[in-house]
């Protein structure tokens, strides 16, 4: 599907390793991953040696690296569990970053072809987005498609894409109550489209299969929203949902686009929704406050960079949400510390 010639030097693939044995994961992705530079970050809580097969060009970061770089900020910012990947984003110097959970393998499309998720993400990031008016034929820059009758001409050049959110076949990213109610539900529908999520429309961004333009929105991909009983299954987290809303607000403010749709990855069965549900309800409840908050958030016109936007968001979180729940107070603090850390590390 991709007609873009990819400059591989512009891409880092960041993998958060939440399990020691990465062999089958890496082998499945070898046809794609072997062409790029990888940043592998080991969950600092994971004990033991990672097993990574040969033939990959990668940098590995572990707890000691994290402690070394983050230093005194390490009290405020946690890189445990799924958040370990954010350290990889901090270390990268590339334009595009792609991140896929380590329990996902390449999918096949409806014709049975191997889906090169990396290539599709890069296409999404390097072609314009169209957030100001909805195109009913979805991505107008895709081969075989275009803007439809009635689409204003002044909006047809589009804007830069800041974030690309992919999807999942087999185990979809449903919350624990939903999956527990429908244990047999698997996503088998391959929807052959990429679309731009309109400006000022909020959405739940799943961290399972995403990519972003680090130069444009890098600091907005941050580890801030940690639940008290957060675990190592996506059902036991909402950190990516929080981060995704920050990114969307930043993109809306900076007039960048967020795309959703292709590529698909195949998500393997892991965990038990009912067990997760017994452990963790908090995340689901917190969304009731989080979503309206982000929907009504308006930043000042002077917030012209991702860092500025994040500082403003953190201040409003502290003022409006923090009084209700310590999770929000911690999130606001972490966001402030993260922006400081990002600035420090990026200028080195």
């Amino acid at each position: 599907m991709s007609q873009i010639s990819i400059n591989h030097d512009e891409v880092d693939i960041v993998i958060g390793a939440l399990q020691l044995d990465l062999k089958s994961f890496m082998e499945e992705w070898r046809p794609v991953f072997s062409l790029f530079h990888l940043i592998i970050v080991k969950d600092p809580d994971l004990k033991g040696e990672l097993e990574i097969p040969a033939g990959f060009n990668f940098d590995l970061y572990t707890k000691s690296d994290i402690d070394g770089v983050v230093g005194s900020s390490s009290n405020a910012i946690s890189f445990s569990g799924y958040s370990c990947r954010y350290f990889g984003y901090l270390m990268s110097r590339k334009k595009y970053i792609i991140s896929i959970d380590d329990d996902c393998i390449p999918a096949r499309d409806s014709a049975g072809n191997f889906v090169d998720a990396v290539s599709q993400h890069i296409t999404n990031l390097s072609t314009p987005a169209t957030p100001f008016f909805f195109n009913t034929l979805y991505d107008p820059f895709c081969k075989g498609a275009d803007f439809v009758r009635g689409y204003p001409f002044s909006l047809r050049s589009g804007v830069d894409c800041g974030l690309s959110c992919g999807l999942w076949l087999n185990l979809a990213d449903l919350d624990a109550p939903t999956q527990a109610l429908k244990p047999e539900l698997r996503n088998t529908r391959y929807v052959d489209a990429v679309l731009t999520v309109p400006a000022r429309t909020m959405m739940p961004v799943s961290g399972i299969n995403i990519s972003f333009n680090r130069e444009l929105v890098g600091p907005a991909l941050l580890p801030a929203f940690r639940l008290a009983k957060e675990g190592n299954l996506r059902w036991e987290t909402v950190e990516d949902i929080w981060t995704g809303m920050c990114v969307k607000v930043v993109c809306d403010q900076l007039r960048l686009g967020v795309k959703s749709g292709l590529p698909y990855v195949w998500r393997k069965e892991r965990g038990d929704a009912i067990e997760s549900l017994k452990k963790e309800w908090e995340g689901v409840k917190l969304m009731e406050d989080v979503v309206p908050f982000f929907q009504s958030l308006r930043l000042s016109t002077s917030a012209a960079t991702a860092e500025d936007c994040l500082s403003e968001i953190a201040a409003v979180v502290k003022e409006q949400l923090a009084p209700a729940n310590p999770v929000f107070a911690r999130a606001a603090e972490t966001m402030v510390e993260w922006v400081k850390l990002w600035k420090r590390v990026q200028t080195q």
Binding site: L137, G144, G150, D192, P204
Partner: protein
């Protein structure tokens, strides 16, 4: 296959839905749709020369209106109904007595899905209309009410009831609905991509509504579906459905109703002449640049609690803000008022009419 389905169980909404078809040529296309359309009542709006006899294929239950009928029924108010343009179809919406409308162009045929199965477009539209929309928060797995889908992690439970669906906007395989400049540049492009999704267009976002394959809940949004002044004697064409779509979206957003787009696909067979289209669209291409910011910033007052009230408020804003773009918009604003008056005359006891006792038909 489809005939067997119909004999098994009653077609959904058989007595609650009208199919509105504008035509100036013939209705031969209905033969292909027979298995899916025959149980339903048709409203044919005959455009052009009223002395021409348009033959409706045997076996269909229908009412047909030509220009003479329109003039007779509406009297002086018939001035709001376009002539020599498929925009005249909105007359069919007005005279219908049903809760739901499906409208389709006479060059649209039954499409096949990727498995080769013929698509019952009407059935899919009905599914879309009878399940809620989700305009307030985007679901990345698209329509969560579809079989095999659901709300994703992070979607608040308080938003999972959704909003009532007012409009179902279908798409087209083969000849895509491009504007004239795009048609000229890409005369051979065909839409071959079957995107297996229905999704809600988020609140606050406008879209280009195509009238070729469209269904809506007439009780929820009918009076907003005015297709404007196009065709004979008018400076513009091919913006009828666009105009209706922008008005409808603003009003749906205000009233908390949803609009879905995506499935079903129909097969669009006829590519209209791009040079003829260019002449019709020419002014629209420039005017659109003013219209979009107008609709994007349009707000309706708290008192606008019915579709008619919303529409009349909008018409005042059209006159105030767009009248200076071209005098056409002054005429259009007046026609919008005429349309609502005519609608209320023909639909006196419908729930939500301005100033009349609200006997809710729900």
């Amino acid at each position: 296959m489809a005939t067997a389905d119909i004999s098994k169980s009653s077609p959904p909404l058989k007595d609650e839905l009208d199919i509105v078809i504008p035509t100036i040529r013939n209705l031969d296309f209905l033969e292909m749709w027979r298995p899916f359309f025959q149980p339903y009542h048709l409203i044919i709006v005959q455009d052009g020369d009223p002395s021409k006899v348009i033959k409706v294929p045997e076996g269909f239950d229908y009412e047909l209106y030509n220009r003479n009928d329109i003039n007779k029924i509406l009297g002086p108010k018939s001035s709001c109904i376009s002539f020599k343009d498929s925009a005249c179809r909105c007359f069919g919406y007005m005279v219908s007595k049903k809760k739901y409308i499906f409208t389709i162009d006479d060059d649209c045929f039954v499409a096949k899905d990727p498995t080769g199965k013929e698509i019952n477009a009407l059935e899919q539209h009905i599914k879309n209309l009878l399940t809620p929309s989700t305009p307030f928060f985007f679901n990345t797995l698209y329509d969560p009410y579809r079989e095999g889908a659901d709300f994703v992690r992070g979607y608040p439970f308080s938003l999972r009831e959704g909003a009532p669906t007012a409009v179902s906007h279908g798409l087209w395989l083969n000849i895509p609905d491009y504007d004239a400049p795009t048609q000229l540049v890409k005369p051979r492009e065909r839409n071959t991509r079957y995107v297996d999704a229905v999704m809600t267009i988020p609140k606050g976002t406008l879209f280009p509504m195509c009238g070729m394959n469209l269904a809506f809940n007439r009780e929820l949004i009918g009076p907003a579906m005015y297709f404007g002044l196009m065709g004979d004697g008018q400076p513009i064409g091919r913006y009828d459905d666009m105009w209706a779509g922008w008005c409808t979206k603003v009003i749906c957003d205000h009233l908390g109703l949803g609009i879905k787009t995506g499935l079903p696909y129909i097969w669009h067979s006829k590519a209209s002449n791009p040079f003829v289209n260019l002449k019709k669209e020419y002014k629209g291409i420039y005017w659109q640049e003013e219209l979009i910011p107008f609709f994007q910033s349009a707000t309706l007052s708290k008192d606008a609690t019915t579709v008619q009230k919303c529409y009349l408020e909008l018409s005042k804003q059209v006159k105030a803000k767009l009248g200076k773009v071209d005098d056409y918009f002054n005429k259009l604003a007046d026609a919008m008022v005429t349309w609502v008056e005519a609608w209320d005359e023909l639909n006196p006891s419908a729930g939500g009419s301005t100033g009349v006792t609200n006997g809710s038909a729900k």
